[in-house]
């Protein structure tokens, strides 16, 4: 009897031998990013013997639940995140595991977004894509209305005039829609001269910000912007204006390059294209951004996690990822040499080129955009601006009160 038990014990206990690492990767996708990563990671898995378990979740899970998981110690090993600065105290520093010079050369512009504000020079994540904000336009509507689209370098006022004509010719509900977040608002605000910060300290309401707020509220009052865009949200809630563009409510949607794949697949009944970012007295403002894959310092397999991120950041894999997901790459070498987006529709290829150009214009004329993207409390500001601007639009507050409230609320929310 005892012998049998002893043998049984032996058999079951040997199965506890340590295997190669199993990494849990929480990923969200706009269209097919996680599936593409799974494909590319196969060769990494076979060469290192580690396993990558990709958990594809909705964006809200990453946005809302990940931070709580990190604080309570139930975090995954890796995640694809967009709140790059906000989570920086949880990141694993990859510097000991990767070739710093390669990373600095090819990702130097986006590495600061992950770092802590003061004197941090670690390498924390691979920027999967560079997203840029910019408008999409319904070409069919402009053609039907017989209105010429403004050229490159036109201002927001020029576009507003054109949209007014299109709206009245075709009897549309509205002309322009913006997603309900200060992330989209920032681009036009920069064009009107908003600086958003002074030496790293956020100051929101300056001359340019005020000017654009007046213009923006005016657009709503005259009906150029729809009531189910910004005014339909309560408080800081986010509203995506893509459904309004898709069903023909508006002729122009201020969104960003992440929607390219989505629009390419889903728009079948009208012609659309991406137009260069409109300009203004302050420059041609667009917000850069994008998500990155990071490893967390609570991981049990730092080497494996770092090895995976490093693998994805290599030139050929970055190129494969960008081409398969129709995204702009953050790899600076590839940005110069160009990516062959083979098999991508002409709309998407043209869109990618224009968005990349938007990023360049923003870097030259409105560098505060890059600061804002890297600011680690920008997520709070994204919600505060729509909250009070909506109240100004619906008449609950006067615009002056709303602007004062924005300043007060931002100050309270970022106070230490």
């Amino acid at each position: 009897m005892k012998k049998i038990f002893a043998i049984f014990l032996l058999i079951t206990s040997t199965s506890f031998a340590v295997k190669s690492a199993e990494l849990k990767f929480v990923c969200y996708q706009d269209i097919n990013e996680c599936d593409t990563i799974a494909e590319i990671a196969k060769s990494w898995e076979s060469s290192t013997g580690h396993t990558l378990n990709i958990e594809t979740v909705g964006y809200e899970v990453v946005r809302e639940q990940l931070e709580n998981q990190l604080e309570s110690g139930a975090a995954p090993d890796l995640a694809r995140v967009t709140n790059l600065g906000g989570l920086n105290k949880f990141y694993l520093d990859l510097k000991p595991y990767v070739d710093s010079s390669y990373w600095e050369t090819n990702y130097g512009a986006t590495l600061p977004w992950y770092r802590k504000p003061s004197g941090d020079d670690g390498i924390y994540g691979w920027q999967t894509q560079l997203t840029v904000t910019g408008p999409y336009v319904n070409v069919t509507m402009f053609e039907d209305a017989g209105v010429d689209m403004p050229e490159e370098g036109a201002t927001w006022d020029d576009w507003a005039d054109a949209l007014r004509e299109v709206k009245s010719e075709l009897g549309l509900t509205a002309g322009l829609a913006l997603d309900r977040t200060a992330h989209r608002w920032a681009g036009p605000a920069f064009s009107y001269g908003a600086k958003f910060h002074e030496n790293g300290v956020p100051i929101l309401v300056d001359e340019g910000f005020r000017k654009f707020s007046e213009v923006f509220v005016g657009w709503h009052e005259e009906g150029l912007m729809p009531a189910e865009g910004w005014p339909a949200g309560a408080g800081t809630s986010y509203r995506n204006a893509a459904p309004l563009f898709l069903d023909g409510t508006v002729a122009m949607h201020m969104s960003g390059s992440w929607m390219l794949g989505n629009y390419d697949t889903n728009i079948t009944d009208f012609e659309w294209k991406v137009v260069p970012i409109p300009c203004g007295p302050g420059g041609c403002g667009a917000m850069p951004g994008g998500s990155g894959i990071v490893a967390f310092n609570s991981t049990a397999n730092p080497e494996a996690a770092a090895s995976f991120i490093n693998f994805m950041a290599q030139t050929e894999n970055a190129e494969k990822f960008a081409a398969s997901t129709s995204n702009i790459t953050a790899h600076q070498g590839l940005q110069k040499s160009g990516i062959d987006y083979a098999g991508v529709s002409p709309n998407v290829a043209q869109g990618l080129a224009i968005f990349a150009a938007n990023a360049g214009k923003a870097a030259d004329t409105t560098p505060q955009a890059y600061w804002f993207q890297g600011y680690n409390k920008n997520f709070a500001i994204y919600g505060i601006v729509p909250d009070y601007i909506t109240k100004a639009i619906t008449g609950e507050m006067s615009l002056d009160e709303a602007l004062a409230a924005i300043d007060a609320d931002v100050a309270a929310k970022i106070a230490e």
Binding site: T12, E71, G233, A234, G235, A408, I414, A415
Partner: protein, 351 residues
């Protein structure tokens, strides 16, 4: 450690150890079936042997108390903790004690950290005011409709069971499903606007859920629709508990129906009506899921707490503490309401 739990071999090992202990402990048991039961159920038998018959019931209650304590009392204490501490993390080790600072942040006009105007108190007061209006309309309307429905469904009508099911059905729907259904009707391209435009009552679609003049109306209506059946059922039970002979006596005296209602039905229904009123008041103050899923144009109290706590993904430095303090303030209000209920029903019993 966590990886072990997912490893099936670990569970084989644990099961083996468990059965081995059972085997050792059941040495004295005669009979093969009894022996097997002893091997499997040795923790229960051990507990019986150790605790004796008197304290055995408490032992059975223990798991429930544990779970109840874990999921009800622990969050309560954590909430107290959050309300008197500062910091972004939910982990107490990274939070600093701050006393009544959060109360100051939510109530005072001047923001204590920046010295300029405080926006939080305006938001909190707006949430209280809007929720108050919501409750003020929703509860009486729902109680009246529930009472009338209960009275009608208490009579001998054809298909009574079917109608009872119809009125109770929305209660069983998840709040998100309720919101989704009504969004289909109330959105811009939804059923209601299309029908009204077809009848030429309106020229262009109305944003029923976000238009400031309509949003409260539809919030009340949808919330009432979703919760009516539950209270109707309670009132129905109350109606059926009124003795039949009272009605027969009234009929023999030739009392009018109206007098029967006001003099017999209502007074005898009063205790249950009070319970239903206070229950629905408390529930209405906590209204959140339907309203959140509908994306209505006003912010309710729980919605305010939800958002301020950073549960929507936008964490702020003091948000969690402020939200915790707000929830404590709301809780004290609801406790007052419950005490009122106790007081009122006790008086009724004495009567």
């Amino acid at each position: 450690m966590t990886e072990n739990f997912l490893n099936l071999n670990y569970w084989y090992f644990i099961t083996f150890i468990y059965l081995f202990i059972g085997f050792l402990l059941s040495r004295g048991v005669i009979g093969s079936v009894t022996r097997v039961m002893s091997i499997i159920g040795w923790p229960i038998e051990l507990a019986q042997r150790l605790s004796g018959t008197k304290s055995l019931p408490y032992l059975f209650l223990f798991p429930n108390i544990l779970i109840f304590g874990l999921f009800t009392f622990l969050p309560l204490f954590m909430n107290f903790g959050f309300s008197v501490t500062d910091g972004e993390s939910i982990n107490f080790s990274s939070r600093d004690f701050s006393g009544s600072d959060n109360l100051a942040r939510i109530v005072l006009e001047k923001q204590i950290d920046t010295g300029i105007e405080n926006m939080e108190d305006d938001k909190f007061k707006a949430a209280i005011a809007d929720t108050f209006v919501f409750v003020l309309f929703q509860v009486p309307i729902m109680i009246v409709i529930a009472l009338i429905t209960a009275i009608v469904l208490n009579r001998e009508i054809i298909g009574r069971a079917f109608w009872r099911a119809v009125y109770f059905y929305p209660v069983m729907l998840s709040p998100v499903v309720v919101a989704f259904l009504w969004t289909l009707i109330l959105k811009r391209q939804g059923l209601l606007s299309q029908i009204l435009m077809g009848w030429n009552w309106i020229d262009e679609p109305i944003q029923w859920l976000t238009d400031p003049s309509w949003t409260m109306f539809w919030s009340v209506l949808i919330y009432t629709w979703a919760n009516l059946g539950f209270y109707m059922l309670i009132l129905l039970a109350g109606l059926q508990s009124i003795p039949r002979d009272l009605y027969e006596a009234a009929e023999m005296d030739g009392t009018s129906d109206q007098r029967v209602f006001w003099r017999i039905t209502l007074p005898l229904l009063m205790p249950i009506l009070l319970v239903v009123t206070v229950l629905s008041l408390i529930k209405a103050f906590q209204a959140f899921e339907e309203l959140f899923a509908l994306q209505v144009g006003w912010i309710s109290l729980v919605s305010y707490i939800f958002e301020t706590a950073g549960l929507r993904g936008q964490k702020t430095t003091f948000g969690l503490g402020i939200a915790a303090m707000a929830s404590l303030l709301v809780a004290s209000l609801l406790i007052l309401l419950s005490l009122l209920q106790f007081y009122l029903t006790r008086r009724q019993v004495k009567l």
